[in-house]
């Protein structure tokens, strides 16, 4: 196997030592990778098993027989269709709100020159340091007084008002890379800022908007603390709370097929996120890297 190293002389001196090294390298990599993937395989394997096999010592990996009905059974034990619908409401709302508000705000912070801009932007960055716990209690009181508890308004409405400082930051970084001459030329032609924003910047920024949308969707899907605080009625739960509810329900008594069903439900909650990731890997990785580089 010829590896692509930067040192060209190595390419001609593939010795036995070097091959051994490569083999060890890939072996280490595969073992570590295996360890990381193991929990997922264990989850899948359990989700298809029948009870006696679940409690087999030492563990057996291949389900025999394969019990597909764990999936429908788990998902109808509690109303997971409702949970799914609630989660989608949450995710779509948050994504839409953040994309719209963060794009507008990021434009103001990057494409218009005005006095005080950078000072205010520091405030935006500083809010990222603020622990949610500090806002949590007064927000709860406020939303309670507005009779917004047990609805998705407390989780979705702030998104329309630029609550994601991270998204604003990310979009600002992208907007800054677009040449200023484009805006200046449009201004000379008499375009106002809103037109420039809608007609020139947004179309160019589609990839970065996709990053923000993706992150927000995932965050909504994974959020646990927010729904835990604002939602009490189990009919309004998102998947994250529903899954925990299922575990609590199973814990109350020894219910047959408890672990296979819990693993089946966990798989169902995880799969959409993993599928989205597989289709958007490049965008995703880019977003994380940008956020890490521009600290």
């Amino acid at each position: 196997m010829v590896s692509r190293t930067a040192f060209s002389e190595r390419r001609f001196t593939i010795t036995g030592l070097k091959i051994t090294r490569r083999v060890v390298f890939y072996a280490v990599l595969c073992v570590l990778g295996g360890l990381f993937i193991l929990p997922f395989l264990w989850m899948l394997s359990t989700s298809l098993k029948l009870d006696p096999q679940v409690y087999h010592v030492p563990p057996s990996w291949i389900p025999n027989p394969i019990i597909w009905r764990n999936y429908p059974n788990a998902l109808t034990y509690l109303p997971f269709d409702k949970y799914f619908f609630n989660t989608m409401t949450y995710c779509v709302g948050v994504t839409l709100g953040t994309v719209i508000s963060a794009a507008l705000v990021a434009y103001g912070f990057s494409r218009v020159r005005w006095r005080g801009r950078d000072a205010i932007f520091w405030v935006v960055l500083a809010t990222m340091m603020l622990p949610f716990q500090v806002q949590m209690i007064p927000l709860y009181i406020t939303f309670k007084n507005l009779h917004w508890l047990n609805t998705y308004l407390p989780l979705v409405v702030p998104a329309f008002f630029g609550s994601s400082a991270f998204s604003i930051f990310l979009l600002r970084q992208f907007f800054r890379t677009i040449p200023m001459e484009l805006s200046d030329a449009a201004r000379v032609d008499g375009a106002n800022e809103m037109t420039i924003f809608l007609r020139i910047i947004l179309p160019l920024a589609k990839p970065s908007l996709a990053v923000v949308a993706l992150f927000q969707f995932m965050d909504g899907w994974n959020d646990f603390l927010g729904p835990l605080i604002y939602l009490n009625d189990s009919n309004r739960y998102p998947l994250a709370l529903g899954l925990q509810q299922l575990q609590t329900a199973f814990n109350q008594g020894t219910i047959p097929q408890q672990w296979p069903q819990l693993m089946a439900a966990s798989t169902v909650v995880m799969v959409p996120v993993l599928v989205i990731y597989f289709f958007t890997q490049r965008v995703f990785v880019q977003g994380i890297v940008v956020s890490g580089m521009k600290s």
Partner: protein, 313 residues
Amino acid sequence: MAELTYAQNLRSGSAAPKKRRKKAELRRIAVGLGFISPWIIGFLAFTFYPMIASFYYSLTTYDAISPPHFVGLANYRHLFMDDSLFRTALYNTMYFVIIGVPVGFVVAFLLASLLNQPMRGRAFFRTVFFLPAITPLVGTAMVWLWIYDPQFGLINSFLAGHGFKAIPWLTSTSMAKPAIIIILTWAQGATILVFLAALQGVPQHLYEAATIDGANTLRRFWHVTIPMCTPSMLFVLVTSLIESFQSFTLPWLLTQGGPDNSTELYGVYLYRNAFVYFKLGYASAMAWLLFLIICGFSILLMKTSARWVYYAE
């Protein structure tokens, strides 16, 4: 409008262009503020007001039903003087910060270095290491509850099958914290990606120069790779520190703070005070203290960063 300013310009000589410039500047400020206005409203309503309010609540006793009752610094005094569970929570959290954060940091950096080697299938392995990070935390918690199951979980069942003693993962005070740190380390994919990007950004010519100077692999790693990655390391340290101080979901789902309060973290105890006991004033005092602690640690890190962070150029 433009004609008017032109006329003014003619009449009053040099004063007018200044005025016009000022007008243009005011206009730009208005446009800028207009664009960021959603954020301004959101900041005032959902960040600034809650900050002030929670500081006020922290000086009161408040149960969300009857109006807050002002008690001065009593909540803070109680936290420091009388509440032994608070001290336990602080200790547990520091354990996660001082042991968990560095463990995760080192593992992530080593994995990123491994991924940075010339290799085939990098995208595949990158995905493998990153996957746990995007998994919904609730799902992660359920899977690991099952893996750590004292009798039939993957690990203990394997150990029992091969004649070893079982490890009491989440059921013993000594193992519960390390058990959770293992999960956090497993789910560190974002950090790996940040490190990997930093490693790939190290200019190749630096390695070549070091090789010519006779540096071996280890010395190249120590004197080239690590210094060039220190800016990312600072970023990772600060963010994982902040996250670690606030962590709630995983311990809440796995152990609810147990056994015997050994995983009662700051975030868990705060949540319990706020939404289980409805001691909102007391919880607000905890929240503000947390904010100050986080600020203190972040500033400390930033201050020391001048000594060890290397910025090229």
